[in-house]
């Protein structure tokens, strides 16, 4: 979804940003202290309550083994946010380093690094993540690694081109003309001005990462079954669509809302920077 970077800034209404921010804050709270939001255990199977429709007791209904879907979604926030933010952060840092090194290196080195980035960019992120999972095996940590590795080329590419832009910018020329040392120029001007767009990209990238993670979990490549990860819950619900659509509907809704919230906040950040 990093494609949004290229778009013209379109500021969402202020109210939207506030709502999105509040939603994300609530999610963070749920990730840190899930018991604030539900008294139920996400793993507690009450077989007598299996496949109960949404009600006051079970706002999102229950699943096939009688677990509360709401509790599972609340506890799942932790995994999804961890994967989303963790993967974006790793991709951002590694991408920034690669991009900076490439952009600041002598031309031949930059050309080679640039080509490598292009080759890696030739793969859809999701496919790349699949391949990484194939190598390191499924699981929660693998998910973070796979998704961040898959996203790195995009970040590296933006970091590299931004570095080149900054390097060729008038203010870096001014700094050189002033006599500011090269390292100081890099630290004071190049890195901060490269980081800005990457941070915005990463904020929006959090949403992409969450969707990718859910997709991989959905395919059975993420955390193992009882873990209340959102993609896992969704996949638990897919064979129940005819009799218990709520099992799949609610986690998907929360994923969508989360991604929208990060996009809205990301766009607002871009509007400011």
């Amino acid at each position: 979804m990093t494609v949004l970077i290229g778009l013209r800034t379109r500021k969402p209404p202020k109210v939207g940003v506030v709502v999105a921010g509040v939603f994300l804050a609530v999610l963070f709270a749920a990730a840190l202290v899930p018991s604030l939001f539900t008294s139920l255990d996400p793993l507690d199977a009450e077989i007598s309550q299996a496949l109960a429709a949404p009600s006051a007791a079970h706002p999102f209904g229950t699943d096939q083994s009688g677990r509360d879907v709401f509790a599972r979604v609340v506890y799942g926030a932790r995994y999804s946010l961890l994967v989303g933010f963790g993967a974006s952060a790793i991709a951002l840092i590694v991408g920034l380093i690669v991009g900076l090194v490439s952009g600041l290196s002598p031309k031949p080195v930059d050309t080679v690094l640039g080509k490598i980035i292009v080759v890696l960019m030739a793969f859809p992120e999701f496919l790349l993540a699949l391949l990484v999972i194939a190598i390191i095996g499924p699981g929660e940590t693998s998910l973070v690694i796979a998704i961040s590795l898959a996203a790195i080329p995009a970040y590296a590419r933006v970091a590299r081109s931004q570095t080149l832009v900054v390097k060729g910018s008038s203010y870096v020329r001014s700094a050189t003309a002033l006599g500011v040392p090269r390292l100081a120029t890099i630290v004071r001007h190049v890195i901060p001005n490269t980081l800005g767009p990457l941070l915005v990209m990463a904020t929006i990238g959090v949403g992409t990462a969450i969707v990718s993670a859910a997709g991989l979990s959905f395919l059975g490549l993420g955390p193992a079954a009882p873990t209340p990860e959102w993609g896992v819950i969704l996949s638990e619900g897919r064979n129940l669509l005819d009799r218990a659509p709520w099992v799949a509907a609610f986690p998907g809704l929360v994923i969508t809302a989360t991604v929208i919230a990060t996009s809205v906040v990301g766009r607002a950040l871009r509007g400011r920077s």
Binding site: I116, A122, F123, P124, F126, I135, G220, G252, I255, T256
Partner: protein, 320 residues
């Protein structure tokens, strides 16, 4: 996202169209070689014994038989030998033989290709139709706001979830479409739509942005000052400019289609390349995985080539 080279970068390039094409073909080969090599070595890192995977759980097969299979598959050769044999076959258009399916990877892929092409082809048609419709007909404040909200939702929703909702609603609730998968156009509509919606969202966002931006350009003012109305402006001027923006998305769209196919084919239980990919990844069917990598790399390289050519067709400034 994957974008093709921006026109600005292209402008800088010198030399005629033919020379540039040649350079591009070189680039295609480079990308394919790089992808094949990276894929080969990455997959050699895969833990677990392909022979075990091949035989499945609880197979009563003796160690000596397993060793024989390893020998047959050349799994005991030194890595460089395996690599160069692989490259040699690749050059001859031979992607090897699947461990699991015991048939040439090329025929595995070509057997599944039609199903996936039908799915992705229809998805592109849907996405373009939706995006163009919104781009052309959405005007005025509240419609614009509605359109951007819908786009945001489409772009933000996991496609497999949309697919599940479709099945739940259109197939189980309303019985409009068969839940069943493989037969007929009716069975293709829901999966294709599922795959199309996120693409439609992003495409219409980009097209509408492009139209708006082009309409803010001085030439649009000039055109309007000649007495041209909105539709005339779009048809004669701004759509071409917006199309260039849309073109930069083609790599991204291809990526979304391929990644999305894995999920959508799983959700709708359709056969196709996506399923083959997922199976090959889970089963560690290295030749198939590598084959997919190479095919995807070729597809990307070709798309990039076509996109670059399309830029040149679209923008005369790139021709000189």
């Amino acid at each position: 996202m994957k974008t093709s080279e921006r026109p600005a970068e292209l402008v800088k390039k010198r030399g005629g169209l033919g020379l540039r094409l040649l350079g591009h073909l070189g680039g295609v080969l480079l990308v394919v070689w790089g992808a094949a090599t990276a894929g080969f070595f990455a997959l050699k890192l895969v833990p677990g014994d392909p022979v075990e995977v091949m035989l499945g759980v609880q197979a009563q097969v003796s160690e000596s038989v397993k060793a024989g299979i390893r020998e047959d598959w050349g799994l005991n050769d030194p890595l460089p030998v395996q690599y160069f044999e692989y490259l040699g076959r690749l050059v001859r258009g031979d992607l090897g033989t699947s461990y699991q399916l015991r048939e040439p990877v090329v025929s595995v892929i070509t057997a599944q290709l039609p199903a996936t092409l039908a799915l992705t082809g229809l998805a592109i048609v849907f996405a373009l139709a939706i995006a163009l419709t919104t781009a052309l007909f959405v005007r005025g404040e509240w419609m614009t706001r509605l359109a951007s909200s819908v786009e945001l939702v489409l772009v933000s929703s996991p496609s497999f979830w949309i697919g599940l909702l479709f099945i739940s609603f259109f197939a189980y609730r309303l019985h409009w479409f068969p839940v069943t998968s493989t037969d007929g156009l009716a069975a293709l509509i829901l999966p294709a739509l599922t795959l199309a919606l996120p693409i439609a969202g992003i495409l219409s966002q980009v097209l509408r942005d492009g139209l708006t931006r082009a309409a803010d350009q001085p030439f649009a003012l000039t055109a309007r000052a000649r007495g041209l109305g909105y539709r005339g402006l779009v048809a004669r001027h701004t759509l071409r400019h917006a199309a260039a923006d849309g073109l930069t998305l083609s790599g991204y769209i291809l990526g979304t289609l391929i990644g999305g196919a894995v999920l959508v084919e799983t959700v709708f239980g359709r056969p196709g390349i996506g399923r083959v990919t997922l199976r090959a990844v889970i089963d560690r069917d290295l030749p198939v995985v590598l084959g997919i990598i190479v095919i995807v790399a070729i597809a990307f390289a070709i798309i990039n080539l076509l996109v670059d050519l399309a830029y040149v067709l679209l923008d005369p400034r790139l021709r000189s």
